[in-house]
């Protein structure tokens, strides 16, 4: 158990190391390029050289990498060229905004998709199963930008119920977060629901369910006590890994609704080649993703006694 945790954390560190190294090489290997990006395309070659010298860019690359990583570990990501301010001043606010969005998506998606998946998987091939399954395929087939367009057309253009942008200029506004959450929810719940359904359907065909039925247990008890626990092991992992997908989705949604979140920040930084901001965002995104994977693994082990007591 401890060994497993240590291994998992070790691999997490390895991943972070490899990712940061690759990221660093891609972004900062060509120092001429770095100087141009920082000082702007109209800077003079002498200015760039002076800047590079002043900022230690003529040091060997491993020393530069080490300096950068040690800065990143204590939370010093440098200065954003786009915003002309320390990266830290922006990134945490944006992350918080995205966390609010993500929280609501998860809070709604998890119960919805689990309930639908279990209902569908309980009786494979039933009418209810078909309806749920096809609806899930339908919703996962509509990409976020498309459902954003559809929902805007309906709720903003046609019904005029909700605001079309979520920039939150005048402070937090409930109405503005409805559409982004809806778009993410619609795209994501189908996948989890289908996974749950598949897992549930598989469990329902196992011999131990047959044993439970032939023991004379009431159907409710067969489902709640015997089937659910086994059926929820797989979706649990899927749900946590869904966070990774959510990070992808928020880029689109935040861009579409002009929501001031982390995803929009990554996009803006990338489009403007804001080197230090990109590096910071990527590191944080990977950290979040890897940390959830570790959580998923630990949770999986806890849920599955076959692995827990080995």
């Amino acid at each position: 158990m401890l060994i497993f945790l240590a291994k998992r954390l070790g691999f997490m560190l390895l991943t972070m190391f490899v990712v940061s190294l690759v990221l660093f090489l891609v972004m900062e290997f060509n120092i001429e390029n770095v100087a141009t990006k920082v000082l702007g395309p109209y800077s003079l070659p002498e200015q760039r050289e002076a800047w590079l010298l002043a900022n230690g860019y003529y040091e060997p690359i491993y020393i530069r990498y080490f300096d950068w990583v040690s800065g990143a570990v204590v939370g010093d990501f440098g200065i954003s060229t786009r915003f002309k301010a320390p990266v830290n001043e922006y990134i945490w606010d944006r992350l918080w905004n995205t966390a609010i969005l993500g929280f609501w998506v998860f809070a709604l998606m998890v119960p919805l998709s689990l309930v639908l998946g279990i209902l569908a998987g309980m009786k494979e091939g039933s009418r209810l199963d078909r309806i749920i399954s096809v609806s899930c395929i339908l919703t996962t087939s509509v990409p976020e930008f498309a459902s954003a367009v559809f929902f805007s057309a309906i709720f903003v253009f046609w019904l005029d119920l909700l605001p079309g942008a979520s920039s939150m200029m005048g402070g937090f506004d409930w109405k503005q977060i409805v559409l982004p959450v809806m778009v993410l929810l619609v795209y994501d719940f189908g996948y989890v629901a289908r996974m749950t359904r598949a897992s549930m359907a598989e469990v329902m065909t196992t011999h131990y369910i047959r044993t439970a039925v032939l023991k004379g247990l009431p159907y409710r008890q067969v489902i709640l006590k015997h089937a659910l626990r086994n059926a929820l092991i797989a979706p649990f992992t899927v749900i946590l890994l869904q966070l990774n997908w959510l990070l992808s989705g928020v880029i689109v949604v935040e861009f579409f609704f002009a929501y001031k979140g982390f995803g929009a920040l990554i996009l803006e930084a990338s489009l403007n080649q804001d080197i230090y901001m990109i590096e910071a965002c990527a590191l944080i995104a990977v950290f979040v993703a890897v940390a959830t994977q570790v959580l998923a693994d630990i949770g999986y082990m806890y849920l599955n006694p076959r692995i827990r007591f080995k």
Binding site: L2, I3, G125, T206, H207, Y208, R210, T211, A212, V213, L214, K215, G216, L217, P218, Q221, K225, H226, R229, N230, I233, L303, N304, P305, R306, F309
Partner: protein, 706 residues
């Protein structure tokens, strides 16, 4: 339940069950009738697809989405199960009728403790409190002879062994004190010595709790040991039923006769009395013939009579058994002594010079222990002793059987011979070349071709994506036998002829073949390179009896013709006695006993050989066996006992010395070796496990002589 009911416990009348598939309605069971009285044990026997399990599931009314009862009735204590509503059915299941399943691991919920799964039964059916349920569960675990019930209660199913899991399943079934227990192949997935223990337990408990048993199995020998009456099923129908003694002694249906002809019994002999396979194949459920389903395979088939119309069960009046019935219109006309055709006697095989010499062969696997304890002690590298000092010789034309239960190292040994693994010590010499350290990639085509293998699982032995012709042809080219496409094709045809399959099979894909046919192709492939030695790894254990007999005979015919050395790996001692010249008995990677077949099957025995012999069910009422049931589980290969590997379960254990020291190799006769601390003289005093009554022995000899 009405307590005053005193009729038969279970009455099944004219039951018909169908499955509905894309191809339409498929009748699984037709016109099935059976009566079972309280406390009685009845067996249903038949080959796969005969509908025996379907009957059990129908009694439970558990048919899946696409199955249904289309006719007849199932009366349990006078109430028709077919008419019951869901709630009534639920109250009956698990309380009045309980079931024991084939695979105990799959039957138990992996994420619930044994305690929870057991306690549910009395809580649901008797409405008792948690404390009371716990007490009853612990008591029942003690009743099924599980050591340390409290520990087992708190375990998850994967933490206990297969035999223990099956005991838990049995305990679960008996917790509500059912009056009928359905057993669906309850020991098929278990090792023989474990099986013996479970069978004994079932018999003991059925008496203790006065439970009626419906025992479903493909194993006739097992039936003889557990049942009062048996029913023989063929292709969805009951073809014969009666008391055990009458079925085994005076069978009346040609199919029942055929089955007995396929089973190797103690008096069968590969030369003097070879097995007689039933010709033809089991008809598919939607292609059953008109009239008698067995007609096309029956040597007493009467055109115009047997295929005229449906045939009903008829009471057999020639013996004292009032329950004896048979579904054959000619049962009274045919000569039952001639029911199985007399096989041709074959000359004994002459065994030639040694081809394969294994000396002190050793295979250790290195594993890294990642537990915290090992990390701290620094003792991380451990060895799994898969094979330890394996020594034996096999001559030309000789059949050497390697016998043992799971984990005995026989598969590892096969891998080393085939070059998929290399030895870590000792030598393996084939045709005067040391091959133990020669990986498959370093062997010449001739070496590869001269040592080939027949695999266990017919569904796995052929690549489903390639045609039969491609797969055999590839081997021929690979071994450099032929390279010209026309000649390769001719050679494939020759091989198909050899294994008695039509030449048209060259274009077939494996999914178009039956299990027995696939196994024949596997044999053809093994013999493509004219091998001097063939390893057959449980080649018949996954086949039905009648198919197995045909494949066994085929394999032996080819071997005889090509003077091949055959290494026959098996756990089935009946088959081994029938076809082997020499036997090597293995346990946990070591040889316990080796010698000629006659030597191994008669005293002096190694205590493990003795237990194995006793564990194997024999389908012959004239044979009496001494019962030896082994205690405990097979130890893990990862952590074998330091002294004699068998010491933890040995009923003849001397004492400390067995735990501490490796047993000496005692040579009883030249090349008959027993690894045991007990003196040979002591072992000689042990009476034989199997005895055949003298009258019977004479009768068999007379019949052979005539």
């Amino acid at each position: 339940m009405s307590e005053t009911y005193d009729g038969p416990l279970l009455e099944i009348e004219n039951l018909s069950i169908s499955y509905y598939t894309r191809a339409g309605e498929i009748p699984a069971v037709v016109d099935f009738s059976l009566t079972l009285n309280a406390g009685e044990s009845v067996g249903l026997v038949g080959e796969s697809g005969c509908g025996k399990s379907t009957v059990a599931m129908a009694i439970m009314r558990y048919m899946g989405n696409n199955g249904g009862i289309v006719g007849g009735s199932i009366k349990f204590k006078g109430r028709d199960m077919v008419q019951l509503d869901d709630e009534e059915l639920r109250k009956l299941r698990g309380s009045e009728i309980a079931m024991i399943y084939q695979e105990p691991m799959a039957a138990l919920n992996p994420s619930m403790t044994v305690a929870r799964q057991l306690m549910e039964v009395p809580i649901t059916h008797d409405g008792v409190s948690e404390d009371e349920a716990w007490k009853r569960a612990v008591q029942m675990l003690a009743d099924v002879h599980l050591p340390d019930p409290e520990r087992v209660m708190n375990a998850y199913p994967h933490q206990i062994s297969g035999g223990q899991q099956q005991r838990v399943v049995i305990a679960m079934a008996l917790l509500s004190n059912p009056s009928l227990l359905l057993l669906d192949e309850p020991t098929t997935a278990l090792d023989v010595t474990v099986e013996a223990g479970i069978v004994e337990l079932i018999g003991e408990l059925a008496q203790k709790f006065d439970t009626a048993l419906l025992y479903i199995s493909h194993n006739l020998g097992l039936m003889l040991e557990v049942c009062d009456r048996i029913g023989v099923m063929y292709s969805g129908e009951m073809v014969e039923e009666g008391r055990v003694n009458s079925i085994f002694t005076w069978p009346k249906h040609p199919y029942t006769h055929g089955l007995f002809g396929c089973i190797p019994l103690p008096h069968s002999d590969k030369n003097a009395r070879p097995l007689m396979a039933i010709p033809g194949q089991l008809p598919l459920p939607h292609q059953r013939p008109q009239g008698c389903n067995f007609g096309p395979r029956c040597r007493f088939f009467g055109d115009g009579r047997c295929n005229a119309g449906d045939i009903r069960m008829d009471a057999v009046t020639t013996d004292e058994d009032p329950d004896h019935r048979v579904r054959c219109i000619r049962w009274n006309e045919i000569d039952h002594d001639e029911a199985i055709p007399k096989p041709d006697e074959r000359p004994p095989i002459e065994i030639g010079e040694p081809v394969l010499i294994v000396e002190d062969m050793q295979k250790y696997y290195e594993i890294t222990d990642n537990s915290l304890k090992a990390l701290i002690s620094g003792d991380r590298i451990k060895y799994v002793k898969a094979n330890e000092s394996i020594t034996f010789k096999a001559g030309r034309s000789e059949t050497v059987a390697i016998v043992g239960e799971s984990g005995c190292g026989k598969s590892t040994f096969a891998k080393v011979l085939m070059g998929l693994e290399t030895t870590t010590g000792g030598t393996v010499t084939l045709n005067n070349v040391e091959i133990g350290g020669l990986e498959v990639g370093n062997r010449t085509p001739e070496q590869l071709g001269s040592l080939q293998m027949v695999f266990q699982n017919p569904n796995d032995t052929l690549n489903p994506s390639h045609s039969v012709g491609f797969q055999i042809g590839r081997v021929i080219k690979k071994f450099g036998v032929e390279s010209d496409p026309a000649k390769v094709k001719q050679r494939v045809f020759d091989l198909l002829d050899t294994v008695k399959l039509p030449r048209a099979f060259i274009n077939r894909k494996p999914r178009q073949l039956s299990g027995g046919q696939k196994q024949r192709i596997g044999i053809a492939r093994a013999f493509a390179g004219n091998p001097s030695t063939v390893i057959a790894d449980e080649p018949i254990s996954a086949l039905d009896v009648s198919v197995a007999a045909a494949v066994t005979e085929l394999l032996m015919d080819i071997q005889r013709e090509h003077k091949t050395t055959l290494l026959f790996i098996s756990h089935d001692l009946s088959a081994v006695r029938y076809l082997a010249d020499r036997v090597v008995v293995m346990y946990l990677g070591q040889i316990m006993e080796r010698g000629t077949t006659d030597e191994v099957f008669a005293p002096p025995y190694h205590p493990y050989t003795e237990a194995l012999l006793s564990a194997v069910p024999i389908a012959d009422p004239q044979v009496t066996k001494r019962r030896i049931v082994l205690e405990g589980n097979l130890p893990s290969v990862l952590n074998p006992p330091p002294g004699c590997p068998f010491a933890t379960r040995c009923p003849r254990k001397l004492g400390d010395i067995c735990d501490r020291e490796r047993p000496p190799l005692r040579e009883v006769e030249p090349r008959h070796v027993i690894a045991c601390h007990i003196e040979v003289e002591e072992l000689r005093k042990v009476p034989p496990v199997i005895t055949v009554s003298e009258d019977y022995q004479k009768e068999v000899e007379d019949r052979l002589g005539s």
